[in-house]
Symmetry: D4
Subunit: 254 residues, 8 copies
């Protein structure tokens, strides 16, 4: 935690005056808030440029709501991924008065007072091979927007009908960072990577059957891409791709 | 074994007259010649349209030469694959007077009195992604020619430089069967498969490193191809692809 | 997209006269119709000889119906695979007046005005090792018929009772292309491949248990077949085998 | 160790009289002889019906010779597997006067005063798919003969030329136990298993390339055999198959 | 099919006289009965000594009942494995008057008029490491009894409490064939194998968690057993082990 | 079983006097109690210092209750792991009057008359990377306490926010044994292992998605830890880690 | 290929005047130069911002030299990776007069007239866990410098001695892009990723033994990193990481 | 690094007086010595109780000698593992006057002025299944002795001859920590673990062939051990097991 001396002084004065609770001040000073079941890393926004994001799968609505409140109270945007519709409704009930929004296709829950201002060098483009890949692609879109990027999309342009992609080369080349989402044989990032001069992040999806091995086939293809400059994230990890793309796209070096 | 009655009668007369040895006649009748270390399937040319091919890896020059002689004596073309230069020379020494030819890049040894006549419906095209894939691609070329196909090639057209492939779409579409050879991410058959209306046989190669897992990455990609109509053979199996392509390309149904 | 100049002229006149909507004309010219959630590759029938087929798994009835309508409106046959009975009923309700047909065992939904005329060089034979393999085998049968093949079948002839297969060698040899479907140890394509002189497409199924690893055991066996000329498709991919078989069986080279 | 009281008494008398060394008597009583680098399980012949066999790979000639001497001194047959020609010569030099024999193709070293008498219920048959499988098959043959079986062989009868196998069904059915050795797709044990009413032991070999994964493809195929009654041993384990076959074939239950 | 000439003559007379239906006679002559959805291998009892067994998983009650009737009508015992209680009840309803019996723990359905007479050389022993392995072990027990063996059991004797096994060595050594069932680390067959002089068939189970990989850990351990003479069947394949054990245990060589 | 002669005498007197049932005495002498479905290893507490623990998954409430009663009657603590809430309630109903306790997060059922006295050399520390790892971590906590350890915890200190861990180095160094639980990339044990001079037991969890392969990714990372002194247990095996930690932490060598 | 009309005109005039050979002009227009064995993608520098790089493994010195000459003649920098010392010397002999340089630890051969000017937004930092990882790390360093980056390094800072890393946090935070190279458990990128707000590219190496599976353990760990923003390249792919880092670090968007 | 103020003062005085070089003092203060190619973690002995150990594989003699000198100069024992005889001789030549010792079977190089005093709670026992496992077992022995343990051994007691192990139960129970080394099916740690009340560290070895998968079979078996309290290290990692055992065996808690 790196408070300036002045911020530190003010914090202590606030504690002395009862304006800030002791526990909260301790959290600010230690860099995390201990909720018993979790240590919320409130310093992350400062340290990494993006606040802690909640991986919602396997967590209770109560836990997610509690973390969301801590982050929102500190003025940070809240994003919870892998949240189904039912859980999202339960969380919203637990956070009355907060600006909760649910993105169904992306399975993301957001809490933000206003859209994030664009902090990127240029537009970020999310490309998807097939319609079955859309939930993963949309997780990228929602994450990237909340992290302060302008986002465009190009969907259903798999390599079996190459003309659909070739006809949009201008769009591909206009992006400052590209996220390319594909399942099955995972060939699309290699083809896109060969056409542009900007970073390409490949996201394998578990879409497919048989010997796709739950997305491992696409993952291996992307790691072995003959198009240099392609880097890869975990299977179905649309969030991680957008997080990485944000770091690549930041106009200001921090 | 399906000799006509007349052929059978002639064979027996030849045996009676000493023109054909008993052992050989037994071989003809049983459909194979027992060399002690091997049962040469001399009936295969009749049954499958292509004579038995020798997989040369791990066999001694003496064994390969013996089988070659049996096949050549019956008027069949001889092809031995996976034969290195040293072994090829040793085999040639064991077969004086026979028309032995060695194809170095393809690592194939051939024994044939004349080029095989074209029995195909059209030209067979062998496409390769990179120069490292050429030994496998050439194994396909040599095999396909010996099996009676006209063969053309298109090499070093990997998807990282798509314009090299796109500029040759006419060539791709002129072939009656295509063999597409690729290592690394194995994307090329999917792209080619999307561009043509003829059978595409994908051959994964062990070219690459790291997580290519000896060609398994390319193999999985090809099996999961989003381009319908692509079928796959074993890693580095240029011979098998050409054999299958020959069956697909035969002008006469047998 | 390769319209002749004359077709192009007529299309533009139709647009000018209001006979064809602008969006549809754009689709015709670009080679695909943009439905928002999907780019229907309407050019595929021309480019590959077979229209785009819908992989129904994971898609909503609404999406499938919309794509079906686009294709049917352009005079193309519609095939949607991996559609369960409930979803098929919902789709049929969304397409009143269209000739929708559901093939239950094959889990396929078809929309066609009349059976496809036979365009093949000869009959296509689908062979299956056991009764548990029938859903995959029937997916091949339905697909192959819609693609213009005469199809025959030979079921439950696994290698544990070899006499069932041997007694039908004549049927095996009468086919111009063979699709051989098997789970467990996947031996059947090797045995069949050794008996015929025509292309054999092997389809591994996920039938079995324990160390069959979801069909990977059969897949590996088929890729390593000692019978040359066998090519392989993905696990349970009856559709892909039939598509490939159609390309091999076409009487007219396109 | 289960010496009768009488044997025990005699042993102790021998020790007292100096006819047997103390260390050796200790070995007899404990059931093993401690050579420092190894505890030779001299009781195994009694306990399991077959003496301890030396796995020669990775052992020095000195170690193998020492164990061989211990076993031979106790009147047991000696078999060392995975011994190359050079190592065999070195061992023979270390055992002057002993009846050492080297079986080159099987890579086995044997020390026995006379052939083992036949203790089996009937002939044991070793079947091999291809000539490349012979080293493994011969390891079975040598082992089985030393363990007291009459052995017959049937080689190069892979399923790609089924007539070679079918024509020998009588031989297959005459055996009391069958060992079936195959690499590549490993289909042969399933076919043989379907034809006979006696135990079939399947031995996968590492013969093949590409996706045979060092024999794993054949191993999986055999484990998933649709022919009931097939049991499997480790890849290339010709010795283990013969050992198991011996136990199955023993005329006398012990 | 190997009817003697006399049997053949009688069969034809029966057909002529209407005592046997044409379809059934065709089945007898061809060696299988074609039910449309299946070719029942009625010749298997003669060829392999044990009738065809129905793998019940994934089959409908109607299909199982139909095959059961064909087999029972020919005087063969019927065994259907992997049948849950509900399906068993449905099958029993479809076979009124037949002696249907359901073995719940083994998940096996049996139809037999009387217990099978003992045809073995001695008792067959089924050993299981833990109580979770009992369903697989009991599948072996039921199968072995129907195939004509006297069966004994020894359960819950895993190697973590070795005294439970050691105290029963006499029982282990009294068996003519042993089936050893274990999950987790799969060590039990190696320990048992080292103690007896009779064949040991190892059955890995999917019991365990984490890195047991659905039984693959136990399977690999058994294939790599340091105790010679152990052979292995597929994961959870209690039926297969019993079938193989029956072939090994037959008093009469067929 | 190692009763002193005096204990043995007393036991027999008790049997003679009817104070102990014959079956129970037999159990005591043999080292296990045969319940038909299980051989309870009642000697384990003496032999290994910790009583037999029941792996509850897949067992019926009746079976678990029966074993619990046997152990409790012999004065041993009872721990059943992998018991869900519903099953726990059923077991409690079957054990009226016994001190049954259910730990919900750890999914453990305990029966003990009093807390176990501390027999350790120092406190045992359970560290967890994320909140999703808590069920596994708590299984360790409950087990370790029942085995006689003082336990402390440090949760949600994953390496993505290293300051949370670094600020607690004193706590890490105060423990005599550490159990470190982590999913995803499994890096935490390596980091902790580098900071302390006491044994570290790493527990991989199945937490994560995509290429975590059900915990195999974390498992492999831990096995390859660059921090020496880290040993590993099976995926999600919180119980096993605590059992091992207890053996390491015992103040008295037994 | 996107020449302006003016460039095109000049090229044609040069051809007409004999200043440019026809073959070379064809190459310029088609975007690649056909050397027979390879199609050199001379357009790549324009299209992707970095010229084609030669993967030297498995290529002959003659082939590498020929491609190098084509690229150098067009004023492009030449980089060949995976070139051992002997091959490098042979290539240098084939390119007399060219500024060939060999970087031994990185196994890279470079041909450049002058160092590349810095085109990055800030310094690029290469971090390596251990000394065995240096060849891969240095491949990154050499590549990144040739692509126009200022590069700094931080080596031997594996997580087993965390203080070595923590003491250099300022260096970590000063970089605009970080490449983190690690074998064994691959934990370092997760730790670094948690400390910085810039893109982190993880490079798994094959360093380690046993269950590192040739680098797959480290690869999986990196893909499952709990530190968001980490993207991954293939095992040992130092070149690919540097290529991707260059695209991320470019000051000018192209 | 935790120097007391007094030690710090003395160090600075030594620097001022020229008695200690600046670079060395910097190393002492930073906790590591920067050799350019490596940061020697000289603080590790203090932090972890055992000095840094050199993994010799892939390192040059010069590098190993340099690190050895740094450690020896600071009065620490030096251990380099995975050093072959030739490299050991080269290192010894580079360290004249130092007490270098080479343990050939263990492939370890040691530099120590005197044997390490025993700091353990009791003897440490190394158990090995077969003679092929001895190099790994001896690596444990040498490491454990240098770390201050009394070590005993029990070799060649694999489970195929269980009496060899059972007869030594007293030895097993006398140890305070046990290291159990086994390849093939890896059953020995489970059997030993069930017999003792002290920690058991299992070391899988790559000994075996076929489906042992380079030691993965043994590794999986050990991770799935039914004997609680067994923890596991990487394949062939005798060093790591001894390091962990040392931490478990320390009489003094640090």
């Amino acid at each position: 935690m790196s408070l300036t001396e002045r911020e530190l002084r003010r914090l202590l004065e606030d504690v002395a005056a009862g304006r800030v609770a002791v526990a909260e001040a301790a959290g600010t000073l230690s860099g995390y808030v201990d909720l018993g079941f979790a240590n919320v890393d409130v310093e992350r926004a400062e340290r990494r440029g993006i606040p802690e994001v909640v991986f919602g799968q396997g967590k209770t609505p109560e836990h997610i709501a509690a973390v969301a409140r801590v982050l929102h109270d500190r003025g940070q945007r809240v994003l919870a991924t892998r949240v189904d519709a039912e859980k999202a409704a339960a969380i919203a009930d637990l956070l009355p008065g907060l600006p909760v929004r649910y993105e169904a296709l992306a399975r993301c829950l957001c809490v933000e007072d206003a859209p994030a201002p664009d902090q990127g060098r240029g537009p970020l483009l999310v490309v998807a091979a097939g319609t079955s890949d859309l939930p993963v692609a949309e997780e990228s879109v929602v994450t990237a927007r909340m992290c302060g990027n302008t986002v465009e999309t190009l969907y259903d342009v798999g390599v079996a009908g190459l003309h659909r992609l070739i006809s949009r080369v201008d769009l591909l080349r206009s992006a400052s960072v590209l996220i390319v989402v594909a399942g099955m044989e995972g060939a699309l990032p290699s083809v896109v990577g060969g056409l542009v001069a900007r970073p390409v992040i490949a996201v394998p999806t578990s879409v497919g059957y048989g010997a796709n091995l739950g997305g491992v086939a696409a993952l291996l293809a992307m790691l072995n891409s003959c198009a240099s400059g392609v880097t890869v994230v975990n299977i179905d990890n649309g969030f991680g791709a957008a997080f990485a793309a944000t770091l690549m796209n930041r106009a200001e070096l921090r």
